[in-house]
């Protein structure tokens, strides 16, 4: 098949729109046992912190209907080891790398971006504004658009201008558009929608929270309609801003849903836990789905759901039924 799968995230071109989501692809070494990392659009790293972090105690996860709840607490080796060990390894394998950053405040995010800018080979930066795990039961940066803007501004200021900065937002806010606008004003080059959604599971045997931290983040197919809705609303309001969509992507058809809603690329997270080669399978399925729709450039599908019926590229959408 000769479908053109290339997508652009601002100035960066990726071979295809399927990305491995932050925190769901390990260091890359684990998944490289199952597929060639150069075969996916990019791998987004687990959010990198300034210092090493031990994360939350176990149990850290619980299964929920069509999803899971997790509270890993951003366990990681810190930026120094990341730059010395993990990033070079990924680049040596030909992977395109998006680096996710997580800090305790705007200053720390700025510091992370500064350290990162010393390295070469990074395709884009993702600012994790929305990880619901850390300390404070529930609240996070994106709960306040001004705070989110300060963080984005700090990262943008310390990042090389040719590396796009994506702000990753939560969906459990009343108005993702307001938040997106605040980030855009702080010069975010794009948005990443969505992170996990705050939730809790209770162990039916102990009647106590199933993950040690109490609250956790819900991910997986369960949250897909929430994510698609969020992408659709934000793209309608800010059509020029590239979006990395994601949340519950399981198949190539799901990627199509996100692209149609307005995403330029799509991150695959939790489903990789179920199917370690999910990312490459999804690239294949996407290619097939596009062929069925008679579309030969994946970019033409971006935002299709916002256009009147029949206005899509190629032979157009399949007739219903």
């Amino acid at each position: 098949m000769s479908t053109d799968l290339r997508v652009r995230l601002k100035d960066v071109e990726l071979a295809n729109p399927v990305l491995a989501a932050a925190g769901c692809a390990g260091t890359g070494r684990e998944l490289a046992q199952f597929f060639d990392l150069a075969g996916i659009g990019a791998l987004i790293t687990k959010s990198v912190t300034v210092e090493p972090r031990a994360g939350h105690p176990a149990p850290r996860i619980a299964e929920t209907p069509s999803g899971m709840l997790s509270a890993t607490g951003l366990q990681g080796p810190g930026i120094e080891v990341f730059l010395q060990r993990d990033l070079p390894w990924l680049l040596s394998r030909g992977a395109r790398v998006g680096v996710s950053l997580a800090g305790g405040g705007a200053a720390e995010y700025g510091e992370l971006a500064r350290r990162l800018s010393e390295a070469s080979g990074v395709s884009f930066v993702e600012v994790n504004l929305s990880c619901p795990n850390p300390s404070d039961q529930g609240r996070h940066f994106t709960d306040d658009p001004r705070e989110a803007a300060r963080v984005v501004h700090a990262v943008r200021s310390h990042t090389r201008s040719d590396i796009p900065v994506f702000a990753k937002l939560a969906a459990d806010v009343p108005d993702p558009v307001e938040l997106a606008e605040a980030c855009a004003q702080a010069r975010a080059d794009g948005l990443s929608l969505i992170n996990t959604v705050r939730g809790m599971a209770i162990d039916p045997r102990t009647l106590r929270p199933a993950v040690a931290g109490g609250m956790g983040g819900v991910s997986g197919p369960a949250i897909r309609p929430i994510a698609v809705g969020c992408v659709h609303r934000v793209h309608a309001a800010l059509p020029e801003l590239p979006i990395i969509g994601g949340g519950g992507v399981r198949t190539g058809g799901d990627v199509l849903e996100f692209l149609a809603a307005g995403a330029s690329a799509v991150a695959v997270g939790t489903v990789t836990f179920h199917d370690p080669s999910a990312c490459v399978r999804i690239v294949r399925e996407l290619e097939e789905a596009l062929a069925e729709h008679g579309v030969d450039r994946v970019r033409d599908v971006v935002g299709a759901a916002h256009r009147p019926l029949g206005a899509a590229a190629g032979a157009g959408p399949l007739p219903r039924g």
Partner: protein
């Protein structure tokens, strides 16, 4: 990709049998059978294509055989919806497996005396281990326990493989009443054991490690911690384990384990982040602290 790493396969089911309180399922999985070494496990997808159960279920491999190009057997008890679904499989159904996963039991170079300690379904991985040890000329003694007679694993096979086999049950319905670790010290002495291999619940592993320490012999333990992926990407299954450098790190049971040296596992701190673990809240790095265990450096 790799010739040694785990594979993902849709495996035809050969048989599902009841064995006491357990089910034994055998599937055709040539590549997995070929790569398998004792102590490794497989992770099964449950519930079919449109399942609401997203997480794979880990099971220790109990046996591999060369039939049909290679078969894999594991034993399980029905705990929740996932194992209930597994128990309903019939021959010719397909089972989606990833494996073999995890680090196997290290085998001694010399024909030493080994004692195997297993609790409940934790005994499963000790059977292929026993065979491997016997092939190296090791003496094998077994101490297997369970809640009741029907939860003591394959007593007959254990008797056949092992020089001596001791059984315990919580309710006294079979063998000695009491925990599986109670007779361990005596067996070590009588068999002049050089090393212990243990698998089962954390409290049992802690106790076995204490007994091994009392007798001044090493112990290898295979731990069970809640897992989501089994492949090392989700960071669900962490256990506090001290490295060769003495520093405690939160390591993944699925890829850094499930087999660890018993004395390295901080059993008393399982389910917590020990204050002195690398990256614990308030933790400050010493000048020479490595983020990864020096022994693991080559892993990359």
């Amino acid at each position: 990709m790799s010739d040694f790493g785990p594979l993902q396969m849709r495996c035809p089911v050969l048989t599902v049998r009841r064995v006491d309180a357990y089910y034994a399922i055998t599937v055709v999985a040539p590549g997995i059978a070929e790569r398998f070494r004792a102590g490794q496990f497989v992770a099964a997808a449950v519930g079919g294509e449109q399942s609401s159960m997203l997480l794979r279920r880990p099971f220790a491999v109990h046996d591999v055989k060369p039939d049909y190009g290679g078969t894999v057997e594991f034993l399980f008890s029905v705990r929740g919806a996932g194992t209930a679904w597994l128990a309903e499989r019939r021959s010719r159904d397909l089972l989606d497996l990833v494996g073999p996963l995890g680090r196997p039991f290290p085998l001694p170079r010399d024909p030493v005396n080994c004692v195997l300690v297993g609790g409940g379904s934790g005994s499963a991985p000790l059977f292929p281990l026993a065979h491997a040890l016997r092939r190296r000329g090791c003496r094998v003694d077994a101490v297997f326990g369970g809640a009741s007679a029907d939860r003591v694993f394959s007593a007959i096979t254990a008797r056949r493989i092992a020089e001596t086999a001791t059984f315990t049950t919580d309710d006294g319905s079979f063998g000695v009443r009491g925990p599986v670790t109670a007779p361990l010290g005596r067996v070590i002495e009588e068999a002049r054991s050089d090393v212990v291999y243990a698998c089962g619940p954390m409290p049992m592993l802690r106790e076995a490690t204490a007994v091994a320490a009392e007798h001044g012999i090493p112990i290898q333990v295979a731990v069970e911690e809640t897992m989501a992926c089994g492949t090392g990407v989700c960071m669900a299954c962490v256990v506090p384990v001290a490295g060769e450098d003495g520093i405690t790190r939160m390591v993944r049971a699925c890829v850094d384990g499930p087999v660890f040296r018993g004395e390295r596992v901080r059993f008393d701190d399982v389910g917590t982040i020990p204050f002195d673990a690398l990256g614990a809240p308030g933790w400050k790095p010493a000048a020479d602290t490595a983020a990864v265990d020096p022994a693991d450096r080559e892993a990359g």
